[in-house]
């Protein structure tokens, strides 16, 4: 029986600040299959970003288990987590988070550089990724020369270039106008159609509808799961 790509079992996350205990996540169970497009929705402060940080190995759960690609990852060293992040996970941030001093090409190349990939292979991957998002012609530009929508497409290309097992998108349209937002959603949709696994955090139900399945969070708990009917 095939194992899910991502599996969280009874994951909790507690923050301790000045003797105040905040339960950001409580008993989260979540499975995401390969090729699935899942949206995580919920109001502000419900734990969406914390969940995404744990899924992206940027943070560790206080309790529970997390299996990524059939491998438990909750107890890994920082170096191992960095390596998995680099190879298995592609991030798309709300505020793009491109590095302003690097060109478009160099931004997309960056995760491959950390992988120690030879230059010729990197070039091929970067060019493919940029073509895929329609930004090949802006490779030599720096982020400040691009519109918000273009910057987010470059961020998507950066996430794609490493051919990760899963794309984690944190409010990818949050900093875009509706036209550019729609374009980015369309881009994610097309990636999904070509087999990419996508997990997107959004508070906008309109965009959540693009996903196969939506997981609703409230006060750090999964309160509902809905499956979109595709006609």
């Amino acid at each position: 029986m095939p194992q899910p790509l991502l599996k969280l079992d009874n994951v909790t996350k507690v923050f301790l600040t000045d003797e105040v205990e905040t339960h950001a996540l409580s008993g989260i169970h979540l499975q995401i299959e390969k090729g699935e497009y899942v949206a995580i929705a919920g109001p502000s402060g419900c734990g969406k970003s914390t969940l995404l940080s744990i899924l992206g190995l940027l943070d560790t759960p206080t309790d529970g288990t997390y299996v990524l690609n059939e491998r438990p990852v909750q107890g890994l060293t920082p170096a191992e987590r960095a390596r998995i992040r680099n190879r298995e996970i592609g991030f798309i941030f709300q505020s793009f988070n491109l590095i302003g001093d690097l060109t478009v090409y160099e931004n997309v190349e960056l995760p491959l550089t950390y992988r120690g990939m030879p230059s010729s292979d990197r070039k091929q991957r970067v060019e493919e990724a940029l073509e895929k998002v329609g930004m090949g012609h802006r490779a030599k530009h720096v982020p400040s020369q691009l519109s918000g929508g273009q910057q987010q497409r470059v961020a998507v290309a950066r996430a794609l270039a490493g051919q990760p097992a899963v794309l984690l998108a944190d409010e990818p349209t949050g900093n875009l106008d509706s036209k550019n937002g729609d374009a980015v959603m369309e881009l994610l949709q097309s990636l999904h159609r070509t087999g990419s696994t996508i997990l997107m955090v959004t508070h906008d139900t309109r965009f959540a509808r693009h996903a196969d399945r939506t997981v609703h969070l409230f006060d750090g708990r999964v309160v509902e799961e809905s499956v979109e009917s595709k006609e």
């Binding site: 914390t50 940027l58 390596r83 680099n86 190879r87 941030f93 950390y114």
Partner: protein, 811 residues
């Protein structure tokens, strides 16, 4: 790595303000250190050009009074014959030669007389012709000379045809047989030398055992260690003491690596001290840069978070930041070399070694290697901690929209404060060191030295050992004529001729016996410095006659031998008694040559005592005419006159020319100027330390300004809230200033404690520096606090002008 380098370069170009400040700081820090290393390299570390310099050894005669005495010819030849440790052993001494060429005025040359193996020991071949060897050193043969490269170029315009030329030197024909290469003109070996001539001592001179003037240098046989050679030297010294107890009882031999004696101990210690303090300047620069880097890290926190999110390992992130830091320090190093080339020229021009002003301080391979290492170390030191802190960025916090920092802010802030405290402490140490040194030197120079240099013009004359000045009578005749001429010089009120003057100190010492007292053990006799002076000497120098009488014209060569002693000698050897009428003499009971004490004068302290502790406080003066001429062939003239120094000099030259046209008068200078030259090295050290202190203070001021300005920027919203709640400008001013005051006080307190250690070190290195100068320490501490407060006041004043509305809106 290449992409890291490319990115680092782009970062530097993109932030010109940071880059310029950082490069200036690095250029100063690395430049100062490279400059000082070039001094250290030239004076202390420079590899000798000699063949296998590690086998070269200096040999000193030792006694309870001194560890660095020269040797007598007879002892040298005995040691040369008896030892089995040395391949060659040579003796040499500094001397002056008078060169008189047809149609040219007589010229005094600085030179060395050396025994036959002298050049063989160095193994440096001549640039032209040949060197002299043992055959040239035989009595009656040695009418040859080898020129130094500098003299050959200056005097003969580098004419290769000079070899074989016969010149008149000290009234004798001398053949120039060779010219040495430039590397042999090493002032750290022997100061300025124009030429070398064989000693060519005759038989009787080789038997002299009661007069020591020869320096000894040897080359150890391969495989012989210094320890083995020392053991053998001890045995030979024992034999010499047994065989010739009158001259050698209590006398030892001390071997020292040649490299350790080429630079004076004081110069060596001062060079290391300056190098160490230059290191402080670099440390302050590093602290400043680390602070700047931390500010940049804060600004780039999101970039680091993104890199970590994309899978950069901690090491990859640290590497990238270190590449930036090392690239910056490498460029700073290049600029530092430029600063050093300028600094080395400046300092080299002021260095004064063994009578020579100016030392070539090349920026050679050694210096460049040091700069490279210093730059790399600086880059790593400056970059490591900020990079480490950056690698610990809280990614989640940093990636949040509008995040300003992360949980590392507090530790970052504490680290920055610690850096500033260190900077201030280091700056205070530098300031205290410089202040104490300069004030100490001023106090030492201005202290009563027992004579009055103002208005005194001094000069030197060196009579050659040729047939014209072989006998005591010939020399006395010259002194008589000179005395008469001096008295007749226009504007001259007083004058004296003496073997030594207080400027350069006394250089002839000997043990004495006191008539009627039991003889002291050999080598344990009271040691005295001898000076031979003409009548009117004490009056001319402004000394005080305490008891008895001065020398007069009645003290002739054939009259009773008399002496005048100094106050300390009188009080120590005749405590509570009267030394007048008592007699002192040579410890050799067979030839005591008693001198009757006819007067007591005040002690004089020579300028050189500031840098070199005298072997004895006892001073004995003899009439010039009663002194064997061998001790006064080289002598000084001092004139107190109402006319300018240049006029006195010309008149003096003309007077001596009338007595003997072959005799040049040299080193004509006012006594204060001569004192200034003697302490030139120390003045230069004071200036160097002063520059270090100013740079350190400036960097520390910039550092504390940066930290406080950054604090103000970070607390703008808080300040806005405070002002909205009714805080007055002075409340805000004090809020900001208080932080600076706290840092300044902590830095000053730590600096004061550490300064005490530096002051102790300075006093240990230069004993003449008087201890206990709380005023200078308090002054520099106050200066540091004042500068720090001013640096804090600028951003504090800006904080008082914060518009609460704008500040709160930005929040």
């Amino acid at each position: 790595m290449l992409s890291d380098l490319r990115y680092a370069f782009r970062q530097l170009v993109k932030n010109p303000g940071f880059t310029v400040v950082a490069l200036l700081t690095l250029a100063l820090g690395i430049g100062v250190n490279t400059t000082m290393f070039s001094v250290l390299n030239a004076l202390v570390l420079q590899a000798s050009h000699a063949r296998e310099p590690s086998r070269m050894v200096a040999v000193f005669r030792t006694s309870p009074q001194s560890q660095e005495w020269p040797h007598s010819p007879a002892n040298f030849y005995d040691y040369q014959r008896q030892n089995t440790s040395f391949e060659q052993l040579a003796a040499f001494s500094w001397t002056n030669f008078n060169l008189a060429e047809t149609g040219q005025p007589a010229e005094r040359l600085s030179g060395m007389s050396a025994s036959g193996d002298f050049f063989t020991i160095f193994g440096i071949p001549p640039a032209l012709g040949r060197v002299f060897g043992p055959r040239d050193d035989e009595a009656g043969v040695g009418q040859v000379a080898v020129l130094s490269n500098g003299f050959w170029r200056a005097h003969y315009a580098a004419d290769p045809g000079v070899v074989g030329r016969i010149v008149r030197m000290d009234g004798q024909p001398v053949t120039i047989v060779g010219v040495m290469p430039p590397e042999f003109d090493n002032v750290t070996y022997w100061g300025h030398v124009d030429l070398w001539r064989p000693s060519a001592l005759d038989g009787p001179s080789r038997q002299i055992r009661n007069n020591n003037w020869l320096q000894v240098l040897g080359r150890l046989k391969p495989g012989v260690t210094l320890g083995q050679a020392q053991s053998e030297a001890d045995a030979i010294a024992g034999r010499l003491a047994r065989d010739y107890p009158q001259n050698n009882a209590g006398i030892g031999l001390r071997l020292s690596p040649w490299s350790a004696v080429t630079t004076g101990d004081l110069s060596r210690r001062i060079s290391w001290l300056c190098m160490g303090l230059a290191g402080f300047v670099l440390l302050i620069a590093c602290a400043n840069l680390a602070n700047l880097q931390l500010v940049r890290m804060t600004a780039r926190i999101r970039e680091h978070a993104v890199r970590i999110a994309l899978g950069a390992s901690r090491m990859q992130l640290i590497r990238q930041l270190l590449v930036e830091s090392v690239l910056l320090s490498a460029v700073g190093g290049v600029l530092g070399i430029w600063v050093a080339s300028w600094g080395a020229k400046l300092i080299g021009g002021e260095v004064y070694i063994t009578g020579v002003q100016g030392l070539d301080l090349p920026i050679n391979g050694n210096v460049l290697s040091f700069t490279l290492l210093a730059s790399l170390a600086t880059g790593i030191a400056v970059g490591t901690i900020p990079a480490w802190i950056a690698s610990r960025t809280d990614v989640n916090a940093a990636l949040k929209q509008g995040a300003r920092g992360s949980s590392g802010d507090r530790s970052r802030h504490l680290f920055r404060q610690a850096l500033i405290v260190s900077e201030l402490a280091l700056a205070l140490i530098l300031l205290t060191g410089a202040g104490y040194f300069v004030r100490g030197m001023q106090r030492a120079v201005r202290a009563d030295q027992g004579w009055r240099p103002d208005g005194l013009v001094i000069a030197s004359i060196s009579l050659p050992f040729n047939p014209s000045y072989t006998t005591d009578a010939q020399c006395r005749a010259f002194f008589d004529k000179l005395g008469a001429k001096l008295a007749g010089l226009p504007g001259v009120r007083q004058s004296t001729v003496s073997a030594y003057l207080p400027v350069s100190g006394f250089w002839r010492s000997s043990g004495i016996a006191v008539e009627g007292r039991p003889a002291a053990a050999r080598g344990k006799e009271p040691l005295v410095y001898y000076n031979s002076v003409s009548p009117g000497h004490f009056d001319t120098l402004g000394m005080r006659l305490i008891r008895g009488r001065e020398f007069t014209d009645a003290d002739r060569a054939d009259s009773r031998n008399v002496a005048i002693i100094n106050e300390t000698m009188a009080s120590r050897l005749w405590p509570g008694g009267d030394p007048l009428g008592k007699r002192i003499g040579d410890p050799d009971p067979a030839h005591p040559d008693w001198l009757e004490i006819v007067g007591v004068v005040n002690d004089v302290h020579s300028t050189i005592e500031i840098v070199r502790r005298p072997d004895t406080p006892f001073q004995v003066y003899r009439p010039l005419v009663q002194t064997p001429s061998q001790f006064v062939h080289w002598f000084n003239v001092a004139v107190r006159s109402t006319v300018p120094e240049a006029t006195v000099g010309s008149a003096l030259r003309a007077a001596v020319q009338q007595i003997d046209p072959d005799q040049p008068v040299y080193a004509i200078v006012s006594a204060p100027e001569s004192m200034k030259q003697m302490t030139g090295g120390l003045s230069l050290t004071g200036q160097i330390l002063g520059v270090f202190a100013l740079i350190g203070l400036g960097l520390a001021a910039v550092g504390i300004y940066g930290v406080i300005a950054n604090l103000v920027a970070q607390r703008t919203s808080e300040i806005g809230i405070r002002m909205a709640l009714g805080a007055q400008a002075h409340d805000v001013l004090w809020l900001v200033l208080g932080q600076g005051v706290r840092l300044a006080c902590i830095g000053t307190a730590i600096g004061l404690v550490c300064s005490w250690g530096l002051v102790r070190l300075l006093i240990a290195i230069i004993p003449a520096i008087p201890g206990g100068d709380p005023a200078s320490v308090a002054a520099v501490a106050a200066l540091l606090v004042a500068v720090a407060l001013f640096a804090c006041w600028l951003p504090a004043r800006r904080a008082t002008r914060v518009d609460p509305i704008i500040a709160l809106r930005s929040e």
